[in-house]
Point group: C2
Chain length 382, copies 2
């Protein structure tokens, strides 16, 4: 964008009503940020003549980097070249963390701590999470009255390309959960789950299945409870998982299986999630192997001290678990502060003789890792 | 939220792995902003010890208001009491316009100029655009290959409660367009179209119908073309409407009528839009009375100088227009800089003897006005 849209719009409107031509004023030059060069170097800019210090921090580097100010009060820095990816970043202006006001792409969540700008660096060919020229599924947003939680909640559902609600075909279902401070839109907006599955399906790597993404907190969004409960301290996540698990099993699954052409048996149900949602999927899934036969955890926020109690029913009968679970898969990046928790879970399950796959990958606690995990996990189920 | 979530999460993770209890550090107090009092006074806060000047501006008042700094570098201001509504607002910190970093609700669009924080002030009973205890429809997001525009585009579709894709019932369709710098998610995210129609349906004020919301720019999002073309200067909006009109009539309508249980005749098609989308709905609708029988424009960005040429086919045969058009409805707020354009359109149509309704209301160029217009327009169609 080479123009200040707001100003131009005002000029345009003024021009519409003027009988004589409106006087020509030059709108101030719009700051272009981020600007991605052909060599994938990225220039960040911010106009802030009064600021003393401006820096950028983001998932494309460790720590922050200072911007330099010119005589017009325009701050600039160049980073990269960056690998093709989708990165989150923020500016800090004199100590105030903010988005890049030049960038329309903003990452939001259920708490303010997650707000950031989004930088998508494209490669020469579209990545596995981008739009390819293949058939596309749909994303549905449903409002439902949760009897267990006693309020109206939102639910996101992915239906694969060719899904025909009037046909006899039935579909398996993956129940997929977001992390702390996020909501039921995170896996579609940030995780690109629909595009990843569209692409896998077109490549013949998966069979078509539904994905159901509920809001992972039991308290209504914006009530503060979701934020306070997000700490995970004092078993907070486990309390969340218990309440959320009731909504899932008593409200969401019956709703999905009545409204969609879904199979209704455990062989056709998978459950997975990331971070807080990984704790939820592992806790709920492994305590309901009567309901689910594929269980996944991505950078799961599990608590080693609680393993013996949380997974008592699983480890009490490892033979039954190994027979019923077609897959127990969890992964974590070695740069993730939660890596030790997954390592611990691997040891715990090995010692209990419960079959599982522990994926150790590069990366930290980011969507880059979770998109790749989904791309790897999806072909292993159903 | 009384806690700094990010910090607490780090503490929580540290605590998970420590053999001994982790040392207790007090996280810095989270800034609570906006805080809505029981008297509907609203307190805005920002921690910015290094800033020289902080102000807030928003749809709840004219101009801006300065925040005052205390000895800890916390800036504060109280406004109101405010009427129950959904307002957009921004902070300006030493000349840099930004969102409220304490507020997770962020309004985004197709250009950076629209980014703002969202303040929802609730009344004693839920407003017409809030969730009521009534049956709810669904929102669908579709990806489709536009043959006329030659790329994959997104489409938002609202299906009313009880919509059954396998039933014989057919539904009328409202084609509904967003304004400049927005996208195909604006009418659901900011306009609450689904909740407004759910509530009208439950009150018996409308019959169930589908709403189809395409992306209103012909160029792909993020290519800059949508932003540059948003100016409306030099007939920009009209060029947009022409290209967009091809996508609508050649791609979107056939897609909708094949994938949904939609009626396929002009008596069951309505077209409406706001601002740039109002220009689109009036230009496309009134030049295609063979396709549409209900036409609406909300704060439409129409250009009086172009009326004789743009609407030549309509005014050439007012008798046919008056016979075919079941409704031509447009509204504008008297505080809107586009009000004169709608006044002009009213005069133009009166002089051409084309029947119409011109709604003059309070308000400016805001979503407050457009939600109310939808609530008034919907019961008049089908």
């Amino acid at each position: 964008m080479g123009l200040a849209i707001g100003s131009v719009l005002v000029f345009a409107c003024a021009a519409l009503f003027a009988q004589a031509p409106a006087p020509v004023r030059r709108p101030p030059a719009q700051v272009r940020s981020p600007e991605i060069g052909p060599d994938r170097r990225v220039t960040f800019r911010l106009r802030a003549p009064a600021a003393k210090e401006v820096s950028v921090s983001g998932e494309f580097m460790r720590g922050g980097k200072s911007l330099q100010k010119d005589e017009d009060g325009l701050w600039t820095v160049v980073v990269g070249p960056l690998e093709p990816e989708i990165y989150n970043y923020n500016f800090t202006v004199d100590g105030v963390r903010t988005i890049d006001p030049g960038n329309p792409e903003v990452k939001t969540g259920s708490t303010a701590s997650t707000i950031g700008s989004v930088l998508e660096v494209r490669g020469e060919t579209p990545a596995f999470y981008e739009v390819h020229p293949v058939p596309h599924g749909e994303i549905h947003t449903l409002w439902y009255d949760s009897k267990s939680l006693k309020y109206t909640r939102r639910l996101t559902v992915y239906t694969p390309p060719g899904y025909d609600p009037a046909a006899r075909t039935r579909y398996p279902v993956l129940y997929l959960f977001h992390g702390a401070n996020a909501d039921e839109t995170a896996w579609t907006r940030l995780g690109h789950v629909n595009l990843i599955l569209d692409n896998l399906l077109a490549a013949g790597k998966i069979k078509p299945f539904l994905v159901v993404m509920p809001f992972g907190y039991p308290a209504p969004p914006g009530t503060g409870a979701s934020g306070a409960g997000a700490s995970g301290a004092g078993g907070g996540f486990s309390q969340i998982a218990t309440l959320f698990g009731r909504d899932l099993t008593e409200d969401v699954i019956p709703l999905v299986e009545s409204r969609y052409r879904a199979y209704t048996d455990r062989d056709h149900r998978a459950i997975a999630g990331l971070s807080m949602g990984g704790l939820e999927s592992l806790e709920i899934g492994l305590n309901h192997i009567d309901l689910f036969s594929f269980v996944g955890g991505f950078s799961a926020a599990v608590s080693p001290a609680a393993f013996p109690q949380t997974f008592a029913s699983l480890t009490a009968n490892p033979q039954e678990a190994n027979q019923k679970l077609h897959l127990l898969w969890f992964g974590c990046g070695t740069d993730d502060s939660l890596f030790a928790a997954s390592e611990n879970f691997d040891k715990f399950l090995t010692s209990a003789k419960v079959k599982h796959v522990f994926k150790q990958s590069e990366g930290a606690h980011t969507w880059m890792v979770w998109r790749r995990y989904l791309n790897e996990f999806a072909p292993l189920i159903f």
